[in-house]
Structure formats: C-alpha cells, structure tokens
C-alpha cells in the first residue's frame, strides 16, 4: 500500500525536487555572474504563470500532444528510478528499459514541435535527435560497464550494492566521468545546449510553444532535471539510504554541472556529436576494459 502511495506521489516529489534543483542552479549561476539572482522558488512561479496564460493558438493535435507526451514520458521515467527504500517500478523495468523510456520524452517533444512548422523548431528537433545519438553511446557503454560489473541490470540493486562508500565514482572513476559527461549532455547544459541555443535557433523545439504548453514543458523539464541527477546519483554516487541524502547528492551533481555550465561556450551540433563519440566514448570503453580485466 505504502509502495503504491509512494509511486503516486513520486512524480510530484520529483517535480518539486526538480524545481528546487533548478532554482538552486539559477541562484548559483547568478552568483557566478556576480549578482543575486531570482528567489529559489522562481521556477515554480514561472510555471504557475505559464499555466495561467490564456491560449488561443494551436498548430494541430500533435502540437498540443507534444508537451503532454513529454510530461507523461518524464513521469513514467521517474517511476522507473528507485528511491531509497523504495523499488518503485524497477522490478518491472531495468536499466535497459529505463534508457529506452528516457528517449520517449524527447521524441514526444519532437513530434509536437515538428508540427509547428517553424523552421527553427525543425532544426532544433533535428539537433535534439542528433545530440541524443551522441550522448546515448557513452551512456550505454557506461551503463553496460556497471551491468558487467554487478552482473545485474536492476537499478535498485545498483544502489544497494554501492552502500557504504563503495561508490562507483571512486571504484570506476573513468566510467563515472564518461557517465557524467553523457548525463551532462542529456541535460542540455553548456556546451551541449545546441538544441535550444537561443542565439541560433531561438530555443529550437520550444520556439512556437507558449503559455500552458510551455508550462507543461517546464514541468517536464523540472522532472527531467530530477531524472538525470537521480540517475547519476544512483549509478555512480551510491544512491542513498534516505531521501535527504539522495537530494543532497543530486544537489552535488547539479553544483558540479553548473560549474561547467557557466564557463563553457556551446558546441556546434556536429562537434558535440563528434565529441561524444570521441572522448566520453573512449573513456567509457577504457572503463569497460578495466572492468573486464580487473573485475573478472
């Protein structure tokens, strides 16, 4: 019963953690910019505002559905992530399934944005899919390394196996680095923000979205932030034994990501993909090799 209740509440929890992480990130970025920045709950205000906007324009059913699919897929993805003490849906879907589901959100957005007919959106979508090709490769290799190491694909087991300070970050630093870069790419932070790149494609897929649609996208995005950080936490930071440690570790991930985010200009899309296929992939492969040689 509790399990089910937690399952229902998880998306909301994920949303609020995502909001908190985003708010924290904005605050931290502001500090690096030498200013104070918005209040911590600003993302929440933004979403409320967006949801309260009136809309009278639609570019078709798919256009409306896009954000819904995005949010739906994000919620689904959240459910496949274990929480401390709670397995969630992990018994029904392992790492492989998770990696698949993770893509659905972006695809949904792609479908919706493609409907808008704005060339910027199309370019953005093309970029998003291309970039996905880029970061999926090292991500999968890194994930596989863990699978090879632990002999299981169950995310909850990953978490329990790393308890104590047996974090993969320390045990498999190379894989962790590759995994970090890939997750970082999935987050779409600088230098991998080619998808939205305001200066180039005017926020790409989101260009025609406004009001409630955008609000939904932002909700989805907040959950995505939760997903990426939680995923990295579970895979490499040993999960957590309680919820606060979990959030704290996610915060740690966000902090490190923000440091990079603030100082690097963005890649061109082809460079980004090439980069992913070169460095993180190589490192991940190296990590895999070490696990193969050392682990066995």
């Amino acid at each position: 019963m509790v399990e089910k209740l937690v399952l229902i509440l998880t998306p909301i929890f994920a949303f609020f953690v995502g909001i908190f992480l985003e708010g924290f990130k904005r605050k931290m970025v502001a500090r690096i910019h030498r200013r104070y920045g918005p209040p911590l709950h600003q993302p929440l205000l933004d979403i409320i505002k967006l949801l309260s906007k009136k809309e009278n324009i639609s570019h078709g059913v798919m256009f409306d559905l896009g954000p819904v699919i995005f949010v739906g897929a994000s919620i689904l993805t959240v459910l496949f992530l274990p929480l401390p003490h709670f397995k969630q849906l992990t018994p029904y879907g392992d790492l492989i399934a998770f990696l698949y589901i993770m893509v659905i959100g972006s695809l949904g957005m792609a479908l919706g944005a493609g409907e808008s007919g704005n060339p910027n959106a199309s370019i953005g979508i093309a970029r998003a899919l291309t970039l996905m090709l880029g970061y999926e490769l090292p991500l999968i290799i890194a994930g596989n390394t863990l699978v090879v190491r632990y002999g299981t694909t169950d995310l909850y087991k990953f978490m329990t196996l790393q308890s104590g300070f047996n974090w993969n970050l320390f045990l498999l630093p190379l894989t962790a680095i590759a995994g970090f870069i890939a997750t970082y790419g999935a987050m779409g932070e600088h230098p991998f923000d080619t998808v939205v790149a305001p200066q180039e494609v005017a926020t790409g897929p989101m260009v025609e979205y406004g009001g409630k649609h955008l609000g939904l996208l932002m909700i989805g995005h907040a959950i995505q932030v939760y997903i990426e950080t939680a995923f990295f936490t579970i895979l490499f930071l040993g999960g957590a034994s309680n919820i606060f440690t979990f959030i704290l570790k996610q915060l740690g991930v966000i902090i490190v990501m923000t440091l990079f985010d603030t100082v690097f200009p963005r890649f061109r899309i082809e460079n980004a993909v090439r980069y992913f296929w070169r460095w993180p992939t190589l490192i991940a492969l190296l990590g895999l090799l070490i696990v193969y040689i050392g682990g066995k």
Partner: protein
C-alpha cells in the same frame, strides 16, 4: 606575435577558475533597496524657479525636440511678474525631452536646472507634461549651468570712446561707434528672445534688426527699425535704452548694447530711403504738425508713409526740438539730426522753420486749413525752483543754456559752476560746462559741481552719464537740496544747500523733506538749474483751451491713439501723460498718434475706438 601565442595556450582549468566568484560578493545594486549615487551633474527632470524665471523662451528656442512650450502656469499663481518678464513659463513635455540640458545652458537667469532624478513611470501617457516648478522637485539639484563654460557670450564688446582727457576738450562725439567686426560680434550675442521689446516704449523689433545686423543686411535692419521708430539714428545715440535694462543678459553678464548696434546700422545706411518699410498712395489729406521734436517728426514720418501731406511748424530755426536744441553735440552731432530730417524732407514732409504757432500763424487757421493737427511742442521751457535771484544773469535754466551752447554758439562761461539737478539734463549741462572750461581756461582753476536731491542709488541720470561725468572731473553733491543763493556785491558767491531727509513720501510720490539745520555752502559764480521742464500752450485759443481736457498731473489728456478731447487735434510727446520724458517714448507717441490721425482721416472710427 607573442600575443597570439599567449591566447593560443588554452586551458579548461583556467576557465573553471572563473567560478570562484560564487564565493564573492555580487556587484548588484539592489534597487529599490539600494540606489546608485547620482552625481552633481546628473541630467534628470527639470526644476524651474518660477519667480526667478522671466519667461524669455530661450529654452524653447534651443530645444531640439520641441519639448518646451511657453505657457501660463495658472496653477502656480505668479505673484509678481516683475518688469522685464512675461507671464509665461516653460512647460516641458517629457514625451519629447531628450535630457540634453541645452535649455539649462542657455537659461539667462539660471532659474532652470535639472534635478538628480530621472524616475517617473505612469500608465497614463498624458501625465508626462508639467511645469517644472519648485513644488514638483523630487531631488536636489543636478545639472546646472556654469559661468565659465556657457554657450552664451556673457561679456559685451567694449565700445570705443574718447579718453576723458581728450573728450573734455572738444565737442566731438565721444562715442566712436563700432567697427563692423565689433558690431557683428556684439549682434551675435543677442539671443533673440525679445524680452527687450517690452521694455522699449516703441516696442521696436529688436531681435529682428539685430539679427539683420548679424547677417550684414543693414538696410533690412534699418527697415525693421523704421517700422516703429522714425528716428533710429538719433535713438541710436541718445536713447535711454530701457531695452538694455531688460536684456536677459543682465542676469549673468552684460546686456547687449542694443543702442550702439542701432547706431551702427543706421550709420552704415547712408540713405534711409531704401529702408522705408511701406509707402501708401497719396490720400490728399493735409496734416499740420506743431513742433519738430521727436514726437512731431515721428508723427510726420508715419503720416507721410500713410500717404498724407504733412507740414511741420517749428518755432526755432533748426529742427529737432529737444533733440536739436537740448542735447549737446558730443552726444548727438548736428549732422545726425540733419540726416534724419533730411530723410523726412526727401519723403516730402514740408518744414516751416521760424514759424511760431500763435504768433506767425494762428492755431485756428491750422485747424481750418488742415484736416488734422498734431501738437508736439514738448516741454520746451525750463522749470524754475523759485531760488532767489533767478532773474539775475548768474542763474540760468539748463534748457536755455544748452540751446545757447549748441545753436547760438555760446562759449563763455564763469569758472565755478553749480548745476542743480541729478537727471540726464544735469549731466549734459555739467559735461558741457566741463568742455567750455577746457576750451576757455584749459581746465585750470575751474570747478563744476552738481547738487541733487537724490542720493547715488536713486539718481535719475543713467549710469553711463554719471560715470562719464565723474571721469571728466565733475564733482557730485548728492543728497542736498538748494536753500538759497548767496550774492555778494551783486555777484553770485555761492549756493547754500540743505541735507535731504527723504525724497519720496510713503506713497512713493515726489515730496522732498530736508534737515533744515544741516547746511553746506557751495562756492560758485554761476548756477544752472536743471530740474525739469514745462510747457507753454498759450498758442491755443482760449475757447479751445477750455475744451481741452487735462490729466491730474497737468498733461494733456489723450486717448489711446493720441487724440485729445478736441476732435481732429492730436497730441503727443512729453505733453501727454504716457510719455516717460525721453525721446523714444515721444517717438512712440508720435507713431501712435499718426495711426490715430490716419484712422481719423480715413474715418475708420471703428478701428480706432474698438
């Protein structure tokens, strides 16, 4: 290319060091909690001291955005729109203003400033227009004008004049006049605001004619002058220049020397004929003008322009009235009068000299023969102060003295002269005496002193005159009133004067009181009384005299167009109340009377009275 190498050494770590600012204090100015310190020169909204402002409109003219309109700030109840000020004040449209501060730079009084605030928001677009009165001030002063760096030319171009030592030996004109370069430089100073026009009794188009001088279009300049002033050349020399007193430059520097500019322009035009503003066809009407003083000449000129035939009757042999007889040559040379009168003659004005009305020709005849009569005889008789011995040859009226010197060529003068009076005539007399002393005695052992009721600060003579007289060695005794003349052996020994207590009473009326016990003896063997003039209207027959209405101050009553209570008889000049006792107001009177006569002759009653 070592620079290049420096930049080619890239580093990820180096880039990441920038994140150290996460631990440093932000640079943000947290408005509205904190505010930027706004500096002294901040160009924000305007602040205008409405009482100090004179409404000259220079700010409006300079504004590149047409943001400034001159309007009546009824809300702010201008208590006292002082002299030389209009009732208008700048109203600023902040939907136009570009905050350049040029209006502040050119403000002649310095009343317009900018404050250290530029924050105003409103939902209402109409809320951005207001009078920047002190009441609206929201912050302390920001941008203000500076006297060192200002687009205005605060200093006047010095007028070359004869040195005191030189000039007191001769009756040559002491003001030498501008060179063309200097005149243009002086003309350039004028801001063109036109505040001076209010001060001028004739309301001459001063900005226009100065602008024409600046453009070297002297004929056009004189044309502007002739529109309101028939005798610009004379005015350019002897005018009391009320305009210069009103000049906005007075607040920050020296007034534009409007008079000298006028003089320069008229000097440049040899024949005014090219500059006559308009000329109507002949109407066939005839007008008689009695007296060829400034008002008479002025009336004659404009009547002629309006197409009437004018005859001027003059008692003396020379034209000009007070100008021709009273004003010394060093101020107004005879040729200048001849030039102006010659201009009138050329136009067709007929002059009858040595023809005294009432003696050589009867007033009734004039009334009969002419369609209208203009009386401009002025105050041609000196006023006596009832001093003892006024009938002796040692005491003389200033007006007679001046006439004797100028017209009759009198050159003899006793060595020690006392001039009674503190007005411009007294100065003229004193300075004339100085010249005669120099000519007769080489200035050795001579003495000229003046006695005036008024003290320095209220002395009616113009400042330049007093200064000129002082430079030439005239001794002043201000604040003393004549008590009695002392005679010894039938010869004048001197004058006893008494200390003045006050000149005016509470109602600011002339009513001198004295300390009878405080006296002073002034040594002198000749006294010239220059305390005012009076008129003689005996040429008017008795029955007409009774019809003639007078004002309480014993001046002829005239309506706004100079018509007396007798239909067809007009008057002007010093005879009427509106005159201020100077040439320019006489000229203005003459002009107005000319218009009145014209209306009368054309039977445009409506135009006249309504």
């Amino acid at each position: 290319m070592e620079n290049k190498e420096y930049f080619e050494k890239t580093s990820y770590i180096g880039a990441l060091t920038s994140t150290k600012y996460i631990f440093k204090k932000p640079v943000t100015v947290q408005y509205p909690k904190e505010k930027l310190n706004l500096p002294e020169r901040y160009r924000g909204f305007h602040v205008n001291d409405l009482d100090k402002c004179i409404g000259c409109g220079n700010c409006m003219s300079i504004c590149p955005c047409q943001a400034i309109t001159m309007d009546d700030p009824k809300a702010f109840h201008l208590v006292n729109p002082k002299e030389g000020s209009t009732h208008l004040r700048p109203r600023i449209d902040y939907g136009r203003c570009s905050y350049c501060g040029l209006c502040v730079e050119v403000c002649p009084t310095g009343s317009l400033k900018m404050e250290r605030n530029l924050i105003f928001t409103s939902q209402d677009g109409d809320a951005f227009v207001w009078f920047p009165a002190e009441e609206r001030r929201t912050a302390e002063n920001g941008f203000t004008q500076s006297n060192e760096i200002t687009p205005l030319e605060l200093e006047k171009v010095p007028m070359p004049e004869l040195e005191p030592d030189v000039r007191k030996k001769t009756f040559e004109e002491l003001i030498l006049g501008f060179s063309e370069e200097a005149a243009i430089k002086e003309a350039e100073r004028c801001l063109g605001c036109g505040i001076c026009m209010q001060g001028c009794p004739a309301h001459m188009k001063i900005p226009e004619y100065i602008d024409a001088i600046f453009k070297k279009e002297y004929e056009i300049s004189v044309k502007y002058m002739l529109e309101d002033n028939a005798l610009p050349g004379i005015c350019g020399r002897i005018c009391t220049h009320k305009c210069q007193d009103d000049c906005v430059y007075n607040y920050r520097g020296d007034a534009v020397q409007i008079m000298w500019l006028k003089r320069f322009a008229t000097d440049m035009v040899k024949d005014y004929k090219v500059s006559d503003p308009y000329m109507f066809p002949k109407t066939g009407k005839k007008v008689a003008v009695i007296g060829s003083g400034p008002s008479g000449l002025s009336a004659a000129y404009y009547l002629t322009l309006m197409g009437h035939s004018v005859t001027v009757f003059e008692k003396r042999s020379v034209p000009g009235g007070a100008l021709g007889l009273g004003i010394p040559m060093y101020r107004l040379p005879v040729y200048e009068i001849d030039k102006e009168v010659g201009h009138l003659k050329d136009l067709g004005v007929e002059f009858k000299f040595n023809t005294e009305v009432g003696k050589d020709v009867l007033f009734e005849d004039l009334m009969r023969d002419y369609d209208a009569v203009y009386i401009g005889v002025g105050l041609s008789y000196g006023r006596a102060i009832n001093l003892n011995g006024e009938d002796t040859p040692f005491i003389i009226q200033a007006i007679d003295f001046l006439r004797q010197v100028k017209v009759e060529g009198r050159r003899d003068i006793p060595k020690k002269v006392i001039v009674i009076g503190g007005g411009n005539v007294a100065m003229d007399v004193a300075r004339t005496v100085v010249r005669l002393h120099e000519i007769n005695y080489g200035g050795i052992d001579t003495k000229v002193q003046t006695v005036s009721l008024e003290d320095w600060d209220i002395m009616p003579a113009s400042k330049e005159e007093i200064e000129g007289a002082l430079e030439e060695g005239v001794i002043f005794n201000p604040g003393w009133g004549p008590k009695e003349a002392v005679f010894e052996n039938g010869k004048l020994k001197g004058l006893i004067v008494k200390k003045v207590k006050s000149v005016f009473d509470e109602q600011r009326r002339f009513n001198p009181t004295f300390y009878e016990d405080q006296t002073l003896f002034l040594e002198g063997d000749y006294i010239i009384e220059a305390v005012g003039q009076t008129t003689n209207l005996s040429f008017i027959p008795e029955h007409l005299m009774q019809q003639l209405k007078f004002t309480p101050r014993r001046r002829i009553w005239v309506d706004e167009f100079g018509e007396t209570s007798i239909s067809g008889v007009f008057a002007g000049g010093d005879l009427v109340e509106t005159s201020l006792g100077n040439a320019i107001s006489a000229i203005a009177n003459g002009h107005r009377a000319a218009i009145g006569i014209d209306f009368y002759l054309r039977n445009v009653k409506g135009g006249k009275n309504d």
